[in-house]
Subunit: 278 residues, 2 copies
């Protein structure tokens, strides 16, 4: 491999494989992150890794993150044999981690939850918008998964658009629920969002949807499934109260957060906050 060949001019220059530190960047917590974006022979990788650890140990480094893209799958087994453990994985890469200090690991836990939204859209005629799952014969509210990096309210707006073509404005999170073992050991948070339509022509777009239509609130509430399932039933009770303006959920406020001063959104009872100010 050409990056191990040192030039030999007029004298001896030694450059042994393994006396080179793997390319890395430092993280904010006294650790290092190695991204193996280029192929490497497993033996060469192990030699460099061992040499790197001598350096990192002497520098007092803590966690060593090792990102192995799918194309470098041949380095997974050598890394585990050197003591790395899996941390998380996405379709295109596997992240491993090694904790150097004797002291207890402060490596952050892996992501534990999926986040989903269900969207209730009420128009001026007090009709709700419903899609239906292909073949299920049940009218249901648009639902979907919140993507990594996506705001909850944005996911609700996106799902309604994808499933029905309707443009909406986010009003409130009416309620949410948590369930467990939604897939394997992971948990699930489901946010029920209330939206106001800003366009009204339904154009079914998603392949998974058999039909989409505006439905009278009373008709959607009278489906047998509404009475079979606590959650459906509560959503309809909250919507009834909402139409009488006797229920307040959580709406959004942009905010800078704890510790790291990141921008985010706070969801809170703004009606109570506003009443208090006025």
């Amino acid at each position: 491999m050409s990056d191990h060949e040192a030039p030999m001019i007029n004298g001896v220059v030694e450059h042994k494989i393994g006396e080179e530190v793997l390319p890395f960047v430092e993280d904010d917590y006294g650790g290092v992150i190695v991204e193996m974006n280029n192929p490497m022979d497993p033996k060469c990788f192990v030699a460099k890794l061992r040499y790197s650890f001598t350096q990192w140990r002497s520098q007092g480094k803590k966690g060593v993150w090792l990102n192995l893209p799918l194309t470098q799958v041949n380095l997974v087994e050598p890394a585990v044999k050197e003591g790395f453990r899996y941390h998380h994985a996405e379709p295109t890469y596997l992240m491993l981690v090694y904790w150097i200090p004797e002291a207890e690991s402060t490596i952050p836990l892996n992501a534990s939850h999926r986040v989903r939204v269900g969207a209730v859209v009420l128009n001026h005629d007090k009709e709700e918008k419903y899609g239906t799952l292909r073949g299920s014969g049940v009218w249901k509210i648009p639902t979907g998964v919140v993507d990594e990096g996506e705001e909850i309210f944005a996911a609700a707006i996106r799902e309604v658009k994808e499933e029905t073509g309707i443009d909406t404005e986010f009003l409130e999170i009416l309620a949410f629920c948590q369930t467990h073992e939604s897939f394997f050991a992971k948990s699930d948070l489901f946010f029920i969002c209330l939206l106001r339509p800003t366009s009204f022509d339904i154009q079914k777009q998603d392949l998974e949807i058999e039909a989409a239509q505006w439905m009278r609130f009373e008709d959607s509430a009278s489906q047998p499934i509404t009475h079979k399932n606590d959650l459906f039933e509560v959503i309809h009770r909250i919507c009834s109260m909402k139409m009488e303006k006797s229920y307040t959920g959580f709406s959004t406020e942009p905010i800078t957060t704890f510790f790291d001063d990141k921008l985010g959104y706070l969801y809170l009872n703004k009606q109570d906050m506003n009443n208090h100010i006025s």
Copy 2:
């Protein structure tokens, strides 16, 4: 390996390596789950995997999940070369997946969020309970990560107990916020919980905590950091309103949920619900 040796008595019994389907269970979505709990030679694994796929294809199976414990790390490279992709990983195992049909994959997305709680404990004297991070010099409310499979309200009670020794009862989620890229690409949901103490003697327990004490509400609100950070400031505003009973957050109700009839907890504005009934 003994499980490939068929008995040979009085006649010819052929039992070729690779004409055996890997052990699997069916999932609820037309897929199969293979857990490689026992070691296997990689060549034998590939032969069996290919034979299994001929069976699963003819049976119209969709997703094939492959769980490789850390001890079977030697099967990761062969699996990827057969077309598997990473789905998720935990310290002790890697989950890969293969989508058989031509149609678009309906494999669920990996977990995208970590969930954390912050706990405000108000006692009758209107003091809040605060811990402080070792060395930071800032009094802060107890915080921590919600474990997989743990209720949000239970995590708040547990964190207060771990950090201060105080027993508490969960009252409400006052607000929550979402931030992104909290580690690598993952997002973070932070729930601010209000609790009522049922014991009062502070016994600092967690190694990460330098000190814990009851602190007068006014004193905790007057720390410089409270005014530097939107979120701290909002928490204190909400707590002030809460002490005047002029703010309502989300409290819990046990519920059976959508689709799969799982038990879970709904978080909603129960005060509005109760006012409506009475």
